[in-house]
Symmetry: C2
């Protein structure tokens, strides 16, 4: 990896197009060919390019311009004045991130706890194919026996309503002799989404934030063997 601190300007052309006027910034060139340009703010680079396959240097009036190429993409960096340069060796084989509290785990937890949580829906299947993509959970109303498609989200947005409506429509079309309703289950549901859902006949279920503790506790109970986590 190479770090260059320089007064630089950038032009990118590829999927979109952008230009960046001269300013002192950090240029980061990783060994996998990734280029990124950082300024003093934010965690994202202001300009970047991945999977570079070619490289070219031109010098004019003692000013270097580097152009990096890939399929249909080009990133042109003019280094007006270089202040610092560092070579850093980062070894391969990074063990990588392990995540928890993901939507997948939320879905798993809800599948186990939907009936307890709502008191009226009994789960039947996960990732049930609707004909227009799989719905997260298929359940049924215990009293009315109507089938219920449940879309699980961390944060429900208006587009979530559109999504569940599509699934319900697809299910109705595919099984014309059965009844279907739609439910959104989310940790957070904004007012506007709530109103929109109600107007479309979609019910909203708010999942308590404590789900993750409950999930972790149950996981730990199932594994009688102590995990590495318990020891640490």
């Amino acid at each position: 990896m190479k770090i260059i601190i320089s007064d630089l300007s950038v032009k990118y052309s590829g999927r979109g197009e952008s230009t960046l006027p001269r300013h002192k910034r950090m240029l980061l060139i990783k060994d996998d060919g990734t280029i990124s340009i950082h300024n003093g703010k934010g965690y994202k680079p202001i300009n970047y390019m991945m999977r570079t396959s070619g490289f070219e240097e031109t010098i004019e009036n003692n000013v270097k311009t580097w152009t990096f190429y890939a399929d249909d993409e080009a990133l042109e960096i003019t280094l007006h004045e270089i202040y610092e340069e560092h070579i850093i060796d980062l070894p391969d084989g990074d063990p990588g991130l392990t995540r928890s509290r993901t939507e997948d785990q939320l879905q798993e937890w809800l599948y186990e706890n939907l009936e307890k949580l709502t008191g009226k829906y009994r789960v039947r299947a996960r990732e049930y194919e609707t004909g227009d993509g799989p719905v997260d959970i298929l359940a049924e109303n215990i009293e009315t026996e109507v089938n219920v498609a449940v879309e699980v989200k961390r944060i429900a947005a208006p587009e979530t309503v559109a999504q569940i409506v599509r699934y319900v429509d697809a299910l109705k079309e595919f099984y014309p002799d059965r009844k279907f309703e739609g439910v959104i289950a989310a940790l957070e549901i904004k007012d506007k989404t709530f109103d929109l859902a109600r107007r479309r006949g979609i019910e909203c279920v708010v999942i308590p934030a404590s789900w993750s503790e409950d999930y972790a506790f149950n996981k730990a109970m199932k594994n009688s063997e102590p995990t590495l986590f318990d020891i640490l």
Copy 2:
């Protein structure tokens, strides 16, 4: 800005949760409080935190652990062995990125050129409110005088079809005495999307890739004054 090359491990807890085992990586601390951890690959940090508001250092067995805080978030970095450290001054006032070939410009271009391009639609309005969100362009069929809602996209996906169908339905509901049709105009429309659109009675218009050159040319013509771009 501070760059630290270190053998480090990370724990994040906030909107989600994640852990990163020990490995030699780069820690980047920007003056705006942004933390990011990079390995040797990719342009994105593997772990990060923005808008940090607090900081704490603990030392155990000669090993430093830094914990960064923000509302409901915490990033804990244990620096097992520090190899390098660099302080870099990046001035504020970065002029920032200017983009072109954006969807906004595409929409502007199409508004000017829809009639020329299709030979049958005449534009009437941009960002026209349908009752279910604004549609990009409202036009009319020159021959039949039917109103046409046009959704502009760079890449049209099946979801785009659902979107334009919703708009057309909303318009029909709001103006029951008028006729409406839906059109998707995009640079790229995959087969499945094309088929789906046809089945739903939505017409597809493919925008030629040359639109951006035409757009730039016309912009230049309008401004008789030479721009900074022309000079450079």
